[in-house]
């Protein structure tokens, strides 16, 4: 199956990349742009076919490597086999 993982900064954590994007959008003439936050998006192909086992694996991947859970949240979707 394929896991699609989104990793975002928690609320209250400063996001200079997001600020830079907001500033650049403003400089390009886009009006009405509020808060911009940048995160990471990771796609992982798994051999596992059992959804429950795959979910458990993805959760452990996020906790151990992909996200810094002190400052980041993660969310994932599992797709197909």
């Amino acid at each position: 199956m394929k896991a699609r993982i989104k990793i975002t900064l928690k609320n209250g954590v400063l996001d200079p990349q997001g600020k830079a994007i907001a500033h650049a959008l403003d400089a390009l003439g886009f009006d009405g742009v509020g808060d911009v936050r940048q995160g990471k998006y990771i796609e992982v192909e798994l051999d596992e076919t059992d959804p429950a086992a795959a979910e458990d694996t993805v959760k452990r991947m996020c906790e151990q490597l992909l996200a810094n859970t002190v400052i980041e949240n993660y969310a994932y979707e599992l797709e197909g086999s």
Copy 2:
């Protein structure tokens, strides 16, 4: 409204970050990990409330700034007002 934008490398474009993640997962003992691709995830708050206008704005943001359309694809979802 809020735009949630995913930017991913096109197929065939080398992704050393993804390779590094796959290697690290393997080193941590995760088996059955296939291809890993890393992209970007950006959330933009827009003052715009008309969905069609917001969609047009987001598309232009992606084309002009957020994605390098030579090597990257983008996808977005719009949410609420």
